[in-house]
Each structure stands twice: as C-alpha cells, then as structure tokens.
C-alpha cells in the first residue's frame, strides 16, 4: 500500500488529465471521447487508493511534495492533501468520468477540443484542491476559467456567449482582487520575517493586524463568495448552468462551486482568523447564506426551465454549506464539507438527467414534458432518487450533510439554523412540482410518447451517483472520519489565531500595513 502513499500520486493526478487533454486535441474526431473517458477513469483509479491510504486521525498534510519553482519569489510546486482536500479531489475524479461519458452522444462537433478542454479543466480543478502554494493555487484557480469559458461558449445553448462572458467576468472580479491580497500577504510576511514566500504553510503563520485583516479577508471572500455563489453574487450561475453543455453544468455544479467554499475553509478563514470569526463577518455571511437558502429555493420554485431550476437549487444548497462553515462548529463544518460532496453528486446527477432529456427533446422547459415516467421508467426512477437526495430525504446523502450543518449551526446560531431549516420545506416545494410536471400526469404530446428510456451507457453514467447517494446517506462514517481531524485542527487554529491577532503592527518600525491601508485611500 505504501505504493500509493508515495508522493507521486498527486502529481500524476495533476498531469495525467493534462496529458490526456493534449492527446484529445490531437486524437481523431471520434476517438477523442474514448481517450478522454479512458484518461478520466484511469485518473479516478489512481485517486481511489488515496481514500484508503489516507492516514486517519491526523490533521497533517499528506502526500506532501514541495519543490522549489520560482526561487526568487519563494514560489514552490507545493501540493498535499488533508481530509478536506482529499474529499474534494475524490469528488473531482468521481464526477469527471460521469461528465465525459454523459457527453458521448451530446457533443457532435469539435469533439477533440471539447474533450481536451474537459480534461484540462479537470487538471486545473484538481490543482486548486491540492495546491499549497498561493501562486500555484491562483494559477489553477484562473486556469480553470479558460476551458470553462470555451465549454460554455462553443458548445453551449442559445445565450451561450452572454453566459460565458458573465461567468468569466464575475469570477475574474473576485479573483483579481484576491491576487492583490495574496501579494499583500506575501509582502507582509516579507516585512516581518525577511523571506519571500508564497507557501501556504508559511503564510498561514503570519500575524496580521486586525484592521488589515478585514480588508484582506474581504478581497479573498469576494473571490470565493462569487464562486460559491453567495447571494447576491449568484446571478452568473443560472445563466452559466443553463447555457453550458451538460458536462459543463455537471462540473460547474459538481466541482467548481466547491472551490469557493473550499477557498473559504482553506484560505480565507485560517489566514484572517480574526476577521473571519468577528461578529461582523460571521453575521454578514450567515445572513447572506440564509438569504441564499430561502431565496434560492423560492426563485427555483417558479422557474419554467428545469435546468435553471436546478441551478437555483445550487444557490440554496451552497447557502447551507456556507452556513455550516461559518457557524464554526465541528459538526457544521464537517456537515458543510460533506454537503459539498453531496451537492456535487446529486446536482451533477440532476444535470445529467436533464441533459438526457434535452438530448431527446431539445427542450428544457418543464411544461414540454409530462408523463415521462410512463415512457421512461428507469429515467423516472433515477430522477426521483436524485431529486429526493437533493431535497435531503433521510437515507440519502443530502440529509446527512444538511442535518450536520443545521445541528452544528444550531449550537451557535439557533435562530439562523431555524430559518435555514425552513429550507427543507422549500426544497420539497421546488423539487416535487418539477418531478410531478416532468414525470407524472398523462403523456399528452406525441414527441414524449416516442421517447426511449435510458440506454445502457446512460444507466452506467448514473449508476455511480445513485450508489453514492445511498452509500453516503446510510454510511457516511468513512467520509466524516477523514475530515474530522482536519476540521478540528482547523477550527482550533482559527480560534487560537483569532485571539492572537495583533491589534497594532508587531514591529513599531514597520508601518507597512498602515501604509497599505492609507494606500487604499489614494495617494
């Protein structure tokens, strides 16, 4: 087993999809998808042993590799995983084969580029989750925009260009300001310790003046909040989801959104513990999460477009995750992480299902369907299971996540948790009508009457998601056990560092951060 504990695994996970992506670009039009599927499955197989070889009971970073890269700036190729990133990486490698196999018949033109982009995107996503160097992280963070931009723009729907640009610019707003904050962090560190470094493990030790923490936190938080997306930064999401090709939506919902929450947990909160645990920030984010939960559900409930409906449910679900993270209890944070995985699986599967309908009928409007259960029983079965998971029925994965989030949040913010719990009502109120209007009722149009039930390939695509929905719902122990030490260590660290955060700059001679704040107000 030590074979898989070795250091090469993460690097292989990073490079393999990249190589596969390049291979796709040069493969034949019809071969590209097989190359892509093969690559993603191999990547998944490579990642799979990580789950078992992962050392439980320790918060230490594992499979850690650090190689100097741009020495002058203290930038290194530093990667490693803890329990949190482990799940995220697993999620990515799990989702990708589904997304690729799900595209087999959906994508009919420029296949090489399509699958190439998907794999490059995969590489970037894995990179985001394993990077432990701020430069490397930012590199992947930005890199992932480009393939997604093309995926939406080239293979998307009617308003794909608007959606692609909107997606790109929204995300870029935040990330550019985050870049400024990263650079500032690096120089703050340099001023205090005389060393230039972008390494996460170094920067996370940096004491930052309380007042400055808020500015820097805001810059990080904006980037992540847009990605999450937190209300009111969410409007890119419905557009991007609706216009993206199925695989794009699956990846957007399944993995990309998690980068925001992951970013909060991994970077924004430990870096700026004082700000992140201050009443101002916690209350603001909790209120925004609550709005996301309720408002997202409300808006979802009145959508005529199935894909858009699901997109809005993401706003609600990610609201739960954010609530969990900022409730700052072990239960809620772990629930939040688990919910990130759950949402990836459930919503990814929902998008796949809607994509399968779209392939058959070329419409996503709910009213165009009806009685599908009669003609597509397996589809109906899968759809109902996934929908139930999405509304958090006990026994499915969605419940475990939401329950932990809510119960943890209730410990620190009972009112917020109570409001959030109304989300369980709204979830039923948006999901079941859609289920009813698509699946139930008489089959009243000829197009629907002739629909074929899911093919073997489509069943294979969905099967892993269905299995995981139940497995996590019934036996989430292995997942929680892996995140627990990391989460507890993280929370402890945040707590300790929040108290230690200096009120004034440590070194009286260095007024650097004062200068920075002054610099914000012009010259």
């Amino acid at each position: 087993m030590s074979f898989f504990e070795s250091h090469w695994v993460l690097t292989v996970l990073l490079l393999l999809p990249l190589a596969g992506g390049v291979a796709c670009l040069f493969a034949g039009e019809e071969d590209a998808k097989h190359v892509a599927l093969g690559t993603s499955v191999v990547a998944w197989l490579v990642s799979l042993p990580l789950f078992w070889t992962f050392q439980q009971g320790t918060a230490a970073l594992q499979n850690f590799v650090s190689i100097p890269w741009i020495g002058q700036w203290g930038i290194g190729y530093t990667v490693g995983i803890d329990g949190i990133s482990l799940l995220m990486v697993m999620l990515t490698t799990f989702i990708m084969p589904m997304a690729i196999l799900g595209s087999y018949s959906y994508i009919k033109r420029q296949q090489q580029s399509y699958y190439g982009m998907l794999l490059i995107l995969m590489s970037a996503m894995i990179g985001v989750f394993i990077a432990l160097d701020m430069f490397l992280f930012f590199l992947f963070w930005e890199l992932m925009l480009i393939p997604m931009y093309f995926l939406i723009g080239v293979w998307g729907g009617e308003r794909r260009i608007y959606a692609a640009i909107k997606f790109f610019l929204f995300t870029a707003v935040g990330s550019l300001l985050m870049l400024v904050a990263i650079v500032t962090l690096v120089y703050l560190y340099f001023r205090q310790f005389g060393v230039l470094t972008f390494a996460y493990n170094d920067l996370v030790q940096l004491p930052i003046t309380r007042s400055l923490q808020f500015w820097l936190f805001a810059a990080f938080a904006l980037a992540f909040a847009i990605k999450v997306p937190l209300f009111p930064f969410h409007t890119w999401l419905p557009d991007a989801h609706v216009e993206a090709p199925t695989a794009g939506s699956v990846i957007l919902a399944g993995v990309l959104l998690k980068m925001g929450t992951y970013g909060f947990l991994r970077f924004a909160m430990p870096f700026f513990s004082y700000a992140a645990t201050s009443d101002l920030v916690v209350n603001t984010i909790i209120v925004l999460s609550l709005i996301g939960i309720t408002y997202g559900a409300w808006v979802a409930a009145v959508q005529p477009d199935a894909k858009k409906l699901v997109a809005y449910t993401s706003v609600a679900h990610l609201g739960f995750v954010m609530l969990g993270l900022f409730a700052l209890t072990s239960e809620s944070v772990q629930g939040g992480i688990l919910q990130m995985v759950n949402h990836g699986i459930s919503t990814g599967a929902l998008f796949l299902l809607i994509g399968m309908l779209y392939e058959r009928r070329h419409t996503r409007m709910i009213e165009d369907f009806g009685g599908i259960a009669k003609v597509m029983p397996f589809f109906a079965f899968a759809f109902v299971v996934v929908a139930l998971s999405s509304i958090g029925l006990p026994g499915t994965n969605g419940f475990v996540g939401e329950f932990l989030i809510l119960i943890g949040t209730f410990k620190t913010h009972p009112v917020a948790a109570t409001i959030a719990a109304t989300g369980v009502i709204f979830a039923a109120a948006y999901m079941l009508p859609m289920v009813q209007r698509i699946l139930y009722g008489p089959v009243d149009s000829d197009e629907n009457r002739g629909l074929k039930d899911l093919s073997l390939r489509e069943r294979i695509v969905l099967l892993p998601a269905l299995v995981m929905i139940i497995v996590i719902g019934v036996y989430p122990g292995p997942f929680l056990a892996r995140t627990a030490p990391s989460v507890n260590a993280l929370l402890e660290q945040i707590e300790v560092r929040a108290v230690q955060a200096p009120v004034e700059p440590l070194d009286a001679d260095v007024r650097f951060d004062h200068m920075l704040i002054l610099g914000l107000h012009g010259d």
């Binding site: 741009i70 002058q72 692609a164 790109f168 610019l169 500032t184 120089y187 340099f190 914000l520």
Partner: protein, 521 residues
C-alpha cells in the same frame, strides 16, 4: 575586458551592438540597391535574412557586453545590466518584427531594402535610448528612432490610411519633440549639465530642491517620453497611427518604441532622477492612473481588432507606469520584465491581425475574426495565447508580469494603483474575450476569403513567441533573475545574485555611481 574609457576605442566596444546594427543597416541598403539595380523588382530574400542576421549578430555582441567590466561610469552611454537587458528586448522585438513582416511584405509587394534599413535604424535609436546617460544622446536617440518610424508608418504610399497615419504621427511627434527638447534645455539650465550623473549629483547635493526650472524640465521630459510610450493624455495619436500604419510596422512600433521609451523613462526617472522623486512621483502616478483607465474603457467600444490592440497597447503603458511609479528597484525590474513579455505578445497579436486582415490590411474588424479558431486552429491557438497573455492570464508571461508589477505596487504601498491595475485588467478581459468568442463561438461568414498560408519565417516566429510567453509564464525564474539584476543597475561583472527581490532596499547596489534606490519608506 575592462572598459574604463581611457581610450577612445573603449567607446567603440561599449557601443558594439549598436554599431553592428548600424553597419548591417547600411549594408542592407547598399547591397539592396546593387542587387536590385534600377528595376523596381522586390529585394532578394537574402536581404531580409541579412537584416535578421545583423540583429542576431548584435545580440551576440550584446551578450558579449555582459563579460566586460566597467569600473566607473561617468559617460554618455551606460554599460550595465539594464542596458544589456533592454537591448535584448529591443533586438528580440526587432528580430521578431522582421520575421513576422516577411509574409506581409510579399503580400503587399513592399519587399524593398529601405524597409529593412529603416527598421534597423529605428532599432539603433531604440537601443541608444535604452542606454543613454546623457540628455543629448537621449534627444538624438529619440529622433533617430522616431524619424525612422515616421517613414515606416507611411511606407505603404499607395494606402491612404498609411499616409494619414504617418502625417499624424509625424506632426504630433515633432511637436512632442519640441517639448522634450525644451525640457532638456530647462534641466540643463537648472543643473548646468546634460550628463545625467552630474544632474543626479547636483540634485543630491540639494541645491536644486524646489527649483521651478528643474521641475518644469523634468515635467516636460516626462511629457516628451510619455508621448513616445503613449501615456494618457499624450496618447491620442496612438490609435490612429496604429490603425493606419502597416500592421507589422504597428507591431514593431508598439513593441519597440514603447520598450525603448520605457527603458529611457526607467533609467532616467527612477535611477538618475530618483532624488527628484517628489517632482515626478505625482505626475507619474496620475499618468499611470489615467493610462490604465481611459484606453481600457475606450477599447470596449472598438470593433476593429487592430485599433482595439492599439488601445490595449496604451493600457499596457499604464501598467508599466505603475512599475515606474513604485520607483523602487522592484518596480524597475517588474517593468523591465513586463516590457519583454509585452513586446513579444503585442508583436504576435499584430502579426495574427495582418494574416486575417488580408491584402490591403482591410479586414481587421471583429467580424472578420469569426470562426478563425476553427479555420486555422494553430494560428487561432497562438492568438489565444497572445490575447491571454495580454489579458494577464496564467500560465502566460503576461500573468507573471502583472503579478510582478502588482508586487512592486504593493511593496511600495501603492495599493490604489494595484487595485486600479487589476480592475482595469478586468475591463480588458472583456475585449480580449470578445475576440476569442468571435474566433470560436461564432461561425465564419460564407464570403470570408481564404487566409494566406504562412511562410516559414512567420511560423518560426510564432512558435518562438508562443513558447517564450508560456515559458515566461511557467518557468520565469531565469528571466526574473536577469531583470532583477538588471534593475539593480549592476555592472555585469560585479553582478551578485540578489537573494530575493525586495531586499534591494536594504542592500545598496555595489556600484561606484550614486544610484540611490528609490526607497519610499
């Protein structure tokens, strides 16, 4: 070799790269005349090759400069890492510009020796501009460069737009030269010397503090140089000229002239005039702000890619001015790095534009780029790399460059500039992305003419440019070390590998000359 300028010959060695280029230029002109005779036929292909060879030879000479040792510097031309670095950038830009232009010259029937000659002469001017330590040399270099470029702009006499662009550029350029010259005169009047080292020591002595002559001189000098790098509000000529000029010339102008102009600004303002910082900092700060904001906004409204790239090039001047405004050696090295990257990406971008624009340079509207990515996948991919780099997106050199500039701004406490830099970059994303969406998301119109196949020189240059940009984005270590050493103003031999950027404020540069680093703290 030790250059102490005890003998006149030392000046020859010190100017070796410039001399190599000049000689090549003359040789190109003469040989071309002889080879063509009186017929109006195009030049033989080897003429162009000779020009490139001359540039390469100059680059070798330039590399040799790294080995010389200069004990003291009190001369008109600098022999230091900074000059070597800028020379490399300018020579690289010239070589790429030449390689990119071969196809175009053939297409437009303009393969004539004068073209190569003018490019090379402009190159000489640029190189001198990067190495000048004397205001007289500065003036002469600026004019040598400018006059050559005026002619290059109008070289396609049959094209009305080319002529108009040349006239506008010429009139404005001459006008700006007047201000530059007046600034030189006023500085001379204030400190009594045109030698920048002496100017510096005068200022350091403090006698000239608050002197209105000096302030006006520095201001007008900045205006003159600001014109060359098209800083807002002295930029207005740029879009028109860039649009009207033959596209490869535009690329060369955008890359070379700007690089040379910034080389001069960086050397004169942030090194030689560092003690006069209170005089110029405010000006540069505002120039940087305006130059970032204005062109980025206007570019949003452009539907001509060439003109849009012109605005983009103005915007990049703004980013570079952030490095200047930081006034530190970090800012200097950042700007230097960015200049190198900028030269490559902007040349590449304009080169793609002329391929698409077709004969007569007429089809450079956004709509003409529709479907390019699928019609010419490799060209399209190269263009994407150039555009992403211009936008400052990883993993390209443009990203590292912007990060570097950001670092400089943050280190200097210029957070407002840093934030403006990123926000204006954000705006710029839109128009760069728009080109990409035309290229990939929309189908070519049915009447779109076939694009010319690119020649080997063009392909080679494209590959070099793309590889260079990606290398600068992924493995910038070596380049970063080079520019940070260069920005220290170190003489090549005594160069010590700086442990890290940013520490320079603590470590005084080990040169004999007074190079007070612009430490703002």
């Amino acid at each position: 070799m030790i250059l102490d300028f005890s003998s006149q010959l030392h000046y020859f060695w010190a100017l070796l790269p410039e001399i190599v280029v000049s000689v090549t230029a003359l040789a190109v002109l003469l040989l071309d005349v002889f080879q063509r005779g009186s017929r109006g036929a195009p030049s033989a292909r080897w003429v162009g090759a000779l020009a490139v060879a001359g540039v390469i030879a100059a680059a070798i000479a330039n590399a040799w400069l790294l080995t010389v040792e200069v004990p003291g510097q009190n001369d008109m031309i600098a022999v230091d890492g900074f000059r070597v670095a800028t020379n490399f950038i300018i020579l690289g830009a010239t070589a790429l510009g030449l390689l990119f232009s071969f196809d175009w010259l053939d297409r437009e029937g303009l393969r004539i020796g004068e073209y190569f000659f003018l490019v090379l002469m402009a190159c000489v001017g640029m190189m001198m501009l990067g190495g000048t330590r004397d205001l007289i040399v500065l003036f002469v270099a600026v004019e040598l460069m400018s006059i050559s470029v005026y002619v290059l702009t109008g070289i396609n006499r049959r094209d009305r737009r080319s002529s108009e662009a040349a006239l506008k550029y010429f009139l404005m350029g001459a006008f700006a030269s007047g201000f530059l010259l007046y600034g030189i005169a006023l500085i001379f009047g204030a400190v009594g010397s045109t030698n920048l080292s002496l100017v510096t020591s005068e200022i350091v002595r403090g006698t000239e503090a608050g002197n209105p002559l000096l302030f006006a001189g520095v201001a007008l000098l900045l205006v003159g140089l600001g014109f060359k790098v098209s800083a807002v509000p002295f930029h207005a000529w740029t879009p028109d000229t860039y649009e009207g000029a033959p596209t490869p010339v535009t690329g060369f102008m955008a890359a070379g002239v700007k690089a040379a102009g910034f080389a001069a600004i960086l050397r004169i303002v942030t090194i030689e005039l560092a003690p006069a910082e209170p005089f110029w900092h405010g000006i540069v700060w505002w120039l940087a702000m305006l130059t970032m904001i204005v062109p980025n906004l206007i570019a949003l409204a452009e539907d001509d890619v060439k003109r849009m790239l012109a605005y983009s090039s103005i915007a990049h001047a703004g980013y570079l001015l952030v490095g200047v405004s930081a006034g530190s050696s970090l800012g200097r090295s950042a700007a230097l790095f960015y200049l190198g990257v900028y030269a490559i990406m902007t040349l590449g971008a304009f080169a793609v534009v002329y391929v698409v624009a077709g004969k007569g340079d007429s089809r450079s509207k956004l709509a003409d780029f529709r479907g390019l990515g699928w019609r010419r996948p490799l060209l399209g991919a190269a263009f994407v790399v150039f555009l992403l780099s211009l936008a400052g997106f990883p993993p390209t050199g443009g990203f590292i460059g912007k990060l570097y500039l950001l670092s400089a701004a943050v280190e200097a406490g210029e957070v407002a500039l840093a934030i403006t830099l990123v926000l204006t970059s954000l705006i710029s994303y839109y128009y760069y992305l728009r080109v990409m969406w035309k290229m990939y998301f929309e189908a070519a119109s049915d009447d779109a003419p076939d694009l010319d196949r690119s020649g080997p020189a063009f392909r080679f240059a494209t590959v070099v440019a793309v590889v260079a940009l990606l290398a600068a984005g992924l493995f910038p270590g070596h380049a970063l070390r080079t520019v940070s050493e260069a920005a220290e103003g170190l003489t090549p031999r005594s160069a010590v590998v700086a442990p890290a950027i940013g520490q320079t404020n603590a470590v005084p540069p080990p040169t004999a000359v007074v190079h007070t680093p612009a430490d703002r703290s």
